[in-house]
């Protein structure tokens, strides 16, 4: 598996469209638990990234630079809770890509592990707090474990995304247990955390992007 600057840009472009599609859904989830803006925030951030990719990054060949710019752009455009979180994720990932024009299996695995751990460090949330960590922590743990075992990125990432999905879905159950939602009582049942959802969407998008690329390559 070889991932180039162009691949990164294409992938980020896919997220741009994906977020536009899921914007309303993400807002809807956030209205139940928070202030209803998660989809709007993600959209503002990714639209700003889109703009950068089309202009400043149009001729950029350095994947690390691309990922740093994605993080910084997102943060500047949105602030919010997810600004520092996703920005830290993409910037920590960028460190892995430093001085590499092409990322191989090992690099990709490290990228996404750094992404998840960076967000954990920034947000200090624990599994069970009903945040995007409920998606990300099972994800990066499984990725780390499986990749160490198999050294195969695609199958490890696939397994990790499955864990991410479970974690995301589990946030529904967590509703009445902790933090902000703890006062919701019965009314909370069934609502899924918006950040856990957007985090899953990004990971799942990467998986399908890579799968598509592999299919084409064959």
């Amino acid at each position: 598996m070889e991932f180039t600057a162009k691949d990164w840009k294409d992938f980020f472009k896919e997220i741009v469209s994906l977020i536009e599609e899921e914007k309303d859904y993400l807002c809807q989830l956030d209205r139940k638990l928070g202030d209803g803006d998660h989809g709007v925030t993600m959209s503002i951030g990714w639209q700003a990234i889109n703009e950068k990719i089309d202009n400043e990054l149009a001729n950029e060949e350095d994947p690390a630079k691309i990922s740093i710019t994605v993080g910084k752009t997102f943060l500047s455009a949105v602030g919010s809770s997810v600004g520092p979180l996703y920005a830290t994720g993409f910037m920590r990932g960028a460190k892995v890509l430093k001085n590499k024009s092409v990322a191989g299996d090992q690099d990709l695995a490290e990228y996404w592990i750094a992404f998840g751990k960076g967000i954990k460090e920034r947000g200090q949330a624990e599994v069970g707090d009903k945040t995007m960590m409920d998606t990300l922590e099972p994800f990066f743990k499984e990725l780390e474990r499986k990749f160490a075992e198999t050294n195969d990125f695609l199958s490890s990432f696939k397994a990790a995304v499955l864990e991410a999905k479970k974690g995301m879905e589990f946030t529904k159950e967590l509703m009445s247990k902790k933090g902000r939602s703890s006062r919701l009582g019965d009314r909370s049942i069934g609502a899924q955390d918006p950040g856990a959802t957007s985090a899953y969407l990004i990971l799942a998008a990467f998986l399908s992007f890579v799968e598509k690329r592999m299919a084409k390559a064959i």
Binding site: D24, C27, Q28, R31, K32, L33, G34, D35, G36, D37, G39, V40, T41, S43, I44, L75, S76, A77, V78, G79, S80, S81, V82, G83, P84, L85, R122, G123, G179, R180, S181, S182, R183, L184, G185, R187, S188
Partner: protein
């Protein structure tokens, strides 16, 4: 919901443009993001700078509180979203007059992270000393044992008032932070929601509520409260809010308080004064003295319906800060 706006994506930029054009002698935008605004009347050398901020949609919070006696600058986020570190840093640099800068903001995950990052950058990159004090006054948002998890709502106004005055008195950074933290420690709020607002970009109501329902303990962004129930009379609502507050903080006979009855956006002043009437009755029944009252829209949530009640228990120092005159575009006190 209907909005008198142009492109929903530009509401914050256009509001700020209107705001600085309306009050050119009071406030100006720094070059850069446009989300960093400071007083047009240069901060005094040696005075601790007061930096406030948070998401948009709470007007007059927070842009309205930049001026003499309150804040020196404000960092403005998107609607209901913390500003990013960039404008916070821009303001920090502009208002640091050698005595450091104090950040005042509400206790929300986003604000904590963005202001935290900005503070680190100010320290590391600019060598500016930064102090912080968070508002966590909403008693409905977490039990007393977890006060550090509580949301900041209208009580933030009193924290601005106290810290702004302390800085004006010439207090140093540590003491401004001390006063701000004391103000927060002594302040409790609780709100009630009657009708939702909507974000310009989605037009969707921020929370669901029945025709004859109210939500006790609702947050300032439509976050769920403690309970949803049938709409009650203003007196019963005031009873509930004040009683929950008084169960959370010891305020005794003879103590003095500042009171804020804050409208969330679309609730008429008539109703706010009717609520205040009952708040005053309860307090005077208990022998608690109202030292100063504020009734009106101080920190809103777009066109949300409902209000909150805030009490700040006063000592001599806080009384002095509450009395200090203020001259901001959206709030003037003689």
């Amino acid at each position: 919901m209907k909005k008198l706006i142009n492109d929903p994506r530009n509401v914050v930029e256009e509001m700020l443009e209107g705001y600085v054009k309306a009050h050119p002698n009071s406030i100006k935008q720094l070059p850069g993001t446009g989300r960093a605004l400071i007083t047009a009347r240069e901060t005094r050398e040696g005075k601790v700078g007061i930096l406030i901020g948070g998401g948009s949609g709470h007007e007059p919070g927070f842009i309205g509180y930049v001026g003499d006696g309150m804040a020196d600058g404000v960092a403005v986020g998107n609607i209901f979203a913390s500003p990013s570190p960039d404008p916070i840093l821009e303001v920090t640099k502009a208002i640091d007059k050698g005595a450091g800068v104090v950040y005042l903001y509400g206790n929300y995950a986003g604000d904590v992270m963005n202001f935290g990052m900005a503070a680190e950058m100010a320290d590391l990159e600019e060598g500016i000393q930064v102090g912080m004090a968070l508002a966590s006054d909403d008693v409905a948002s977490a039990p007393k044992s977890e006060k550090q998890k509580r949301r900041g709502i209208a009580g933030e106004f009193f924290i601005y008032k106290a810290a702004g005055a302390a800085a004006d008195f010439g207090y140093d950074l540590d003491n401004v932070v001390r006063v701000a933290k004391k103000a927060n420690e002594n302040t409790r709020s609780m709100g009630v929601g009657l009708s939702p607002c909507s974000l310009p970009q989605t037009g969707e109501p921020s929370f669901e509520i029945g025709e004859d329902e109210m939500e006790i303990g609702l947050g300032h962004h439509g976050e769920p409260g403690i309970e949803k129930g049938p709409l009650q009379s203003a007196d019963r609502v005031a009873d509930r809010l004040v009683n929950d507050i008084l169960a959370d903080i010891e305020i005794n006979k003879g103590d003095k308080v500042a009171v804020l009855v804050n409208g969330l956006g679309s609730t008429p002043k008539m109703e706010l004064y009717i609520v205040f009437r009952r708040v005053e009755q309860i307090l005077s029944e208990r022998g608690i003295e109202i030292y100063r009252s504020y009734v009106g829209d101080y920190i809103t949530s777009l066109e949300m319906g409902g209000c909150s009640v805030t009490l700040m228990k006063l000592d001599d120092e806080l009384m002095k800060t509450i009395d200090h005159p203020v001259d901001c575009p959206m709030f003037v006190q003689k």
